[in-house]
Symmetry: C2
Subunit: 181 residues, 2 copies
């Protein structure tokens, strides 16, 4: 895809902003793309719904806010309820099966993945939930190579935490492959 507009949404502690920045850096530093990442904090931020916008592109990016995302990730019910109407028709909606119950049909492909449950079953640490989610979306939406994400993680994460991050990324990739068809 020439340009992909992604909105990550969920709650404060889920590591959504970190995942966004890792994705943007992977695209720019290791895939020769341009990227922008932004957060708008309005009054709703005080209510706990976090949203982070990322655009990655092979061409110049002028406007950083995503109006209609090609890819919308919702990791809480509150985020889903608030953001599902903005998805671009024909886009890709990704939700976590533990946290989100779908209420309305959207004009988009919908993948409901047990990301949180898989991380808790296989690794047992919720802190890498965001990295598992990142592994899933880079495959489902064909964004960047897993190796590019790993290169960014290697510069950001202390070496003793790198292994569980790498495992979480792999779990997400496997989930995506399983749910892709």
């Amino acid at each position: 895809m020439e340009k992909c507009r992604i909105v990550f949404s969920g709650s404060g502690g889920q590591g959504i902003i970190t995942a966004s920045i890792i994705l943007a850096e992977a695209a720019v530093l290791h895939e020769n793309m341009t990227a922008v990442q932004s957060q708008f904090y309005g009054p709703e931020a005080r209510g706990g719904a976090t949203r982070s916008d990322v655009i990655i592109s092979y061409t110049q990016i002028n406007y950083p806010k995503v109006i209609q995302p090609n890819v919308l990730v919702c990791l809480t019910q509150q985020a889903y309820n608030k953001f599902y109407p903005i998805i671009r028709p024909g886009g890709l909606l990704i939700t976590d099966s533990r946290f989100v119950e779908i209420e309305k049909k959207v004009d988009a492909q919908h993948k409901e993945l047990p990301m949180y449950r898989t991380v808790m079953d296989k690794i047992g640490k919720p802190i890498v939930f965001n990295i598992c989610m990142l592994g899933a979306i880079i495959v489902l939406a064909d964004l960047v190579k897993p190796a590019s994400i790993m290169k960014v993680l290697e510069t950001r994460i202390p070496s003793n935490f790198l292994e569980i991050n790498s495992s979480a990324l792999d779990l997400g990739i496997k989930l995506a492959e399983e749910y892709k068809s």
Copy 2:
């Protein structure tokens, strides 16, 4: 100030994005403001110059990119060389005396602070340089209260690191008060 546009610039490992997010969250969660934080990663990101834009405002924010910052922070020579021309006339330029040598006069108030040296002398850990910088700019530019920054730090930082972050914030505040006049 009704609305303040801030550009933080420096190199990748200096914690500029983290400092930006902490400032934005402090303004939104604890000072009843609206904020937006964004990073544009163009080809120059591959050369090592990082830039992070923050707007904090008592009114709605429409466009998230900062064209002419009221406050420009430069923590490397490369960042200074690249960004000093964008400062808003009459704005505030803050540089670190260890890393930046001023080459041109700008139409702005200029504060050259020994932030890095002070952090290394008093705390000895470069990792909190960004928090010292944040302490300095919230005072010099009158952005948010130190207590609001501390409240955000308390939710983000493991308790055993809170003390050095709090000390770094205080060092920045004291430096700013010393250099304010």
